[in-house]
């Protein structure tokens, strides 16, 4: 089966500023694709091209094999979209807004809207103006999911959601996958896509840096590790271990960076009496850097 989303050399210039610089992207049917990158990398630009809100300067994009520009309403009917900044007229209730948007999609059963609202703990009668940012995000999620589209395009979907609702969101994504829907979601937080995505594409400065299965990415991610021992340790034992870099020992505390498997570090640490281990969430910037270093090395060779 052909790709649900495909872009080739997608470029978007905003005056002199480059929004996208030749992006290649492939999203396969039924997969959950995490589109990961720092703010300003071109995630929203890509997404808005896919929805024909903006037009590329050069390169090609297709969704379900159709150029978004040509696809028109028929194509957008198959897509559910949550904007990164979901803004609607604040004077209306979410119920009115969702009913209206449902009509534009050719009608969505009221029960379906109510079911989603209940699951997200959203009061549809409240005026949107009176809602918190998190609650507005829920309205955005309902309108994206309500018509059970074949493709969900979600731009930073969990922004503003509390942890409990993030769990509900993860369930919704899992159900979408089970129902055969394709999900394309952007984020600037690795842990967010790590929990849901099958594959992750990393974008930076308008180009795709790499596309990896999420397990691979997790292995590569550099974590800051801090180990507290009962007694002072010598750094020499840890320097040179596979995946371990930047070893600093300060009395009983060892700090280092760990990429890939934790096994060599853990085995070495186990020779001493360990009081505690702290492993920090991998930092996205550092993850990018590992890819850049590699690319740089490849270029040099």
């Amino acid at each position: 089966m052909s790709d649900v989303i495909r872009t080739e050399g997608l470029t978007k210039l905003y005056g002199r500023r480059r929004g996208l610089a030749g992006l290649d992207l492939e999203v396969r049917p039924g997969e959950i694709y995490g589109f990961l990158g720092p703010n300003g990398a071109g995630k929203t630009t890509t997404i808005r091209i896919l929805l024909d809100l903006i037009r590329p300067t050069s390169g090609r994009a297709s969704v379900f094999g159709v150029d978004p520009r040509e696809g028109g309403p028929a194509l957008r009917r198959r897509i559910g979209y949550l904007a990164g900044d979901f803004v609607v007229d604040g004077g209306q209730s979410s119920a009115d807004l969702l009913a209206h948007l449902g009509h534009l999609r050719g009608g969505v059963p009221k029960a379906r809207i109510q079911e989603l609202a209940d699951r997200l703990d959203l009061d549809p009668r409240a005026r949107i103006r009176s809602l918190s940012k998190g609650n507005r995000q829920k309205v955005g999620l309902v309108q994206a999911f309500m018509h059970e589209p074949e493709l969900l395009i979600l731009d930073e979907p969990t922004a503003g959601l509390d942890p409990l609702l993030q769990q509900t969101f993860l369930q919704l994504i899992a159900e979408a996958k089970a129902a055969g829907q394709t999900v394309f979601m952007s984020s600037h937080v690795l842990s967010e896509v790590q929990q849901t995505a099958d594959r992750v594409g990393i974008i930076r400065d308008g180009v795709m840096v790499t596309v990896e299965a999420v397990q691979t990415l997790r292995r590569r991610a550099v974590r800051h590790v801090e180990i507290h021992f009962d007694e002072p340790v010598a750094p020499d034992a840890f320097v040179g271990l596979a995946g371990v870099t930047d070893v600093h020992v300060d009395g009983v505390v060892l700090r280092c960076r760990l990429a890939g498997r934790a096994d060599p570090l853990v085995k070495m640490a186990a020779r001493y009496a360990v009081d505690s281990i702290i492993v920090a969430e991998p930092d996205l910037e550092e993850l990018f850097l590992t890819y850049y270093h590699e690319e740089g090395a490849a270029d040099a060779a």
Binding site: R48, D52, I54, P73, A74, R76, D85, V87, V88, L104
Partner: protein, 264 residues
């Protein structure tokens, strides 16, 4: 009301439509109510003391007849100015205002074409203006006996109110078009204000200033009141010019809006 972009637009604008309709009618009726007071020998003498050029510039020809009085007040300046502001605010909000507020993304990501959004919002603009025109007409009709201008007759009041609606449609479409092509609300409002003022005085001054003789022909105000609908009834040809010009503007709005990027 929530089924289409057209219905939703009217529903969202309902408060403004009601307030403006009542406001325009109230101001129009209030001025009409002064007619018996102003139509006195002393007042006529007083008005005649004003230089003719100033009265011309204000579009006032004679204040003694009811047609002349209403044509210089309710239908001469206040009605058109208020209708123009109402129409321009609706026209700018339709695309540029929504876009600047960041609300267009959600709508346009749905299965609607851009031309449909423009056309349905233009239709909502027309309906809003028609409602305001009907309220004004009802107010003026109710006032006709008391304010001693029943000689004008319902048909001619309806003609003047109807052509006022079309004048509003023209400026509303102009605002819609500039907003749809550029995405800038401020630019749309500014250009409409400038063109409104220039064409207003162009229409009034054209006949008395040699080098401005052409200005009347290009002024929408000429096609609104030049045929004196209060005196002569509905001016089909003038109205057609306003409708055709509005259609051209909406077409420009569709073309410009369909081609460009939507700002975040």
């Amino acid at each position: 009301m929530l089924r289409s972009v057209f219905g939703k637009t009217l529903w969202d604008e309902r408060r403004g439509i009601v307030i403006w309709s009542i406001g325009i009618a109230a101001v129009g009726v209030m001025y009409a109510a002064f007619y018996p007071t102003l139509n006195s020998p002393e007042m006529i003498q007083f008005m005649e003391a004003y230089p003719k050029e100033i009265m011309d510039a204000m579009g006032i020809t004679d204040l003694t007849s009811p047609e002349g009085y209403l044509g210089g007040t309710t239908y001469g300046i206040l009605g058109p100015v208020l209708t123009l502001i109402f129409a321009a605010s609706l026209g700018t909000r339709a695309i540029a205002g929504e876009e600047e507020a960041g609300r267009l993304d959600v709508l346009l990501a749905h299965p609607v074409t851009r031309w449909r959004v423009v056309v349905e919002r233009a239709a909502a603009l027309l309906v809003a203006l028609v409602l305001a025109g009907v309220v004004l007409l009802l107010g003026m009709t109710a006032m006709a006996g008391v304010a001693e201008f029943s000689s004008i007759g319902f048909a001619n009041l309806a003609a003047a109110s109807g052509q006022l609606v079309l004048l509003g449609l023209f400026f509303g479409s102009l605002a819609l078009a500039i907003g749809a092509v550029t995405g800038s609300r401020g630019l749309a409002l500014g250009v409409v204000a400038i063109i409104g003022v220039l064409t207003y005085f162009g229409n009034n001054l054209g006949p008395s200033v040699d080098w401005l003789a052409w200005s009347r022909d290009v002024s929408p105000f000429h096609y609104y009141s030049g045929g004196e609908p209060l005196r002569n009834g509905f001016q089909a040809l003038d109205s057609l010019v306003l409708v055709a010009a509005s259609l051209v503007l909406v077409a420009i709005a569709v073309l410009g809006f369909s081609r460009r990027d939507i700002a975040i």
